[in-house]
Symmetry: D3
Subunit: 134 residues, 6 copies
Amino acid sequence: MVYLTRKEHFCSSHRLFNPKFTEEENLALYGKCAYANGHGHNYEIEVTVAGDPAPETGMIMDLKKLANIIDAEILEKVDHRHLNFDVEFLRGVIPTAENLATIFWGILAPRITAGKLYCVRVYETPNNFAEYRG
Amino acid sequence: MVYLTRKEHFCSSHRLFNPKFTEEENLALYGKCAYANGHGHNYEIEVTVAGDPAPETGMIMDLKKLANIIDAEILEKVDHRHLNFDVEFLRGVIPTAENLATIFWGILAPRITAGKLYCVRVYETPNNFAEYRG
Amino acid sequence: MVYLTRKEHFCSSHRLFNPKFTEEENLALYGKCAYANGHGHNYEIEVTVAGDPAPETGMIMDLKKLANIIDAEILEKVDHRHLNFDVEFLRGVIPTAENLATIFWGILAPRITAGKLYCVRVYETPNNFAEYRG
Amino acid sequence: MVYLTRKEHFCSSHRLFNPKFTEEENLALYGKCAYANGHGHNYEIEVTVAGDPAPETGMIMDLKKLANIIDAEILEKVDHRHLNFDVEFLRGVIPTAENLATIFWGILAPRITAGKLYCVRVYETPNNFAEYRG
Amino acid sequence: MVYLTRKEHFCSSHRLFNPKFTEEENLALYGKCAYANGHGHNYEIEVTVAGDPAPETGMIMDLKKLANIIDAEILEKVDHRHLNFDVEFLRGVIPTAENLATIFWGILAPRITAGKLYCVRVYETPNNFAEYRG
Amino acid sequence: MVYLTRKEHFCSSHRLFNPKFTEEENLALYGKCAYANGHGHNYEIEVTVAGDPAPETGMIMDLKKLANIIDAEILEKVDHRHLNFDVEFLRGVIPTAENLATIFWGILAPRITAGKLYCVRVYETPNNFAEYRG
């Protein structure tokens, strides 16, 4: 089993906020991540596919194809967007790194047809990141 | 002359948009940076002070004091904020990296009392940055 | 299961040295890491917690709380300190990266009450690091 | 169980190309990675050894010894070389990151005598990497 | 005066070799950089433009346009290519970082029509780079 | 004029402390950098040489030779050493980044015989660095 990873980037804004809670409860829970007008990040996403390299190509899957899938399914929807308002597949989701990793996994897993999806890691900053392995 | 630099970080959202222009003109000018709900970055700011180290301390200025000035004058105002709406000193300013570097300079220069401010560099991403030298 | 990681930093000095061995044996074993007056590193520590995000918060645990635990239990004790002399919980421990990761784990594990501690990684340099997973 | 990692670097050129296929088939399969005169990378290799630190040394194995093994067995053969032409142990191998990680593993595993080899990761670029775990 | 920088990447192979010298002389001069089949790098190029931001846009020049110029004039010609054989504007040039920075400058300078080109920096590796300022 | 830079690394311990001051005064001046047993860093040093590339080599000076000079004159003396006690050329010097950059310059400048030394930059951490330009 070999693990192949592709890293991509996107720049988005978000706000951690649960509409079931009051403003005060949200501020107590999320601190400055709950400020009303939101903030943003240079997100990084690492997508890892596990499989056996095909003997005649030496590849689990074409990295360019993997990059294209991430781009079409994720980056096109989230890059330069507000994650709370602009993204169909994030409606009703609190856009924490944990939730983003889990939802990105659900979107990507059925599209990986050579090898299988092993892990999706989402960096909010170099110091904060979440990973989902299915 | 020695140059001493302190790097700090903040996470903000912004939108490139000039209210004098139409939506279409803004999109033509700024591309996806003009999307209505904004996006965000992990900004980095490098502040460089030039001077002669004092013989009895070996320092141009105390780096902790420099960090405190950057924190009180800049980070406290912009971190986890929307640069178009939440920041007093950015009212009416289009928050490009060029404008941020210039305005941060104007705020910091009079507070540097040991040595003098040499340069302020603002990274929007690792690939895009602007620098102002007064 | 989602994995959430927080990275922190500290600057310490240390010396690899076993008092049971002679100076010559220590130099043969540890090379320049055994030099008498020690050396130091910009250490990085990555702490990973595994769990299921709570539906109403989207979080395994509050990253700020995780950062505070790391700060109070580890950084406050080791930052700007000599690991061989200044740290209560390292008395009698040879401060290799392997030992630091294992001991930090033992300190942090009982403090993680939402999710559970999955891994502690300690970087001595970008090229040398150790990881303990319990 | 503790995991100890050493990272090393080498600069090589390569070409993705299977001589069983035509030029056109190679270009369709590998894109610009199949261009006739090759291209190159600043490769990074992370070698992870798993084991229990010896109580009297605090080490799984001497990192300097691990670095020396990587240097003698891998770097001396591949650094500043063309991976398709110059490396005995890569003859007939399509030098994808997947194949490099697998072959480096095969070379290193029998040389690790304290602890055992856990993982070999090969970065072609910061955005593309492959990992083999035996 | 504000300085705006865009960083881009390309992966190429090259060989340091002066055909006026013998093989032995080239090896004595360039060491392993002169090995016959070449090696390669993940090059990085930083292009800095100096100017005054236009008041109505906040920009010296559109970073997207700067990126497009670098892409069309440089990356399209050198990415995934062998710098000694494949690049028209490098014919007869020994592809050191110094020469690349100087030649890239000559190509880019006349294309920068808002502000003016201030500096071109070329990284061969994170530890080796050259810069030309005209 | 072309600027060529070589980056190197060393790991050292140090303490900011002026023996003319009391313990209390040193703590007030340097904060935790004055703790009695010292701390340490993964220092980085960037040495920049300015000159015209020789037409027949394409180089200002051989980067390998520059690396060797830095290694012999600086790294051999400071790596894995305590900067307050172990280094002849730092006797009586308070080892701030400002002082290190200035003293390294004084050592390196007369050894650079092709081109001339333009700048020495010393990173204590990725967030703190000093630069001397003669």
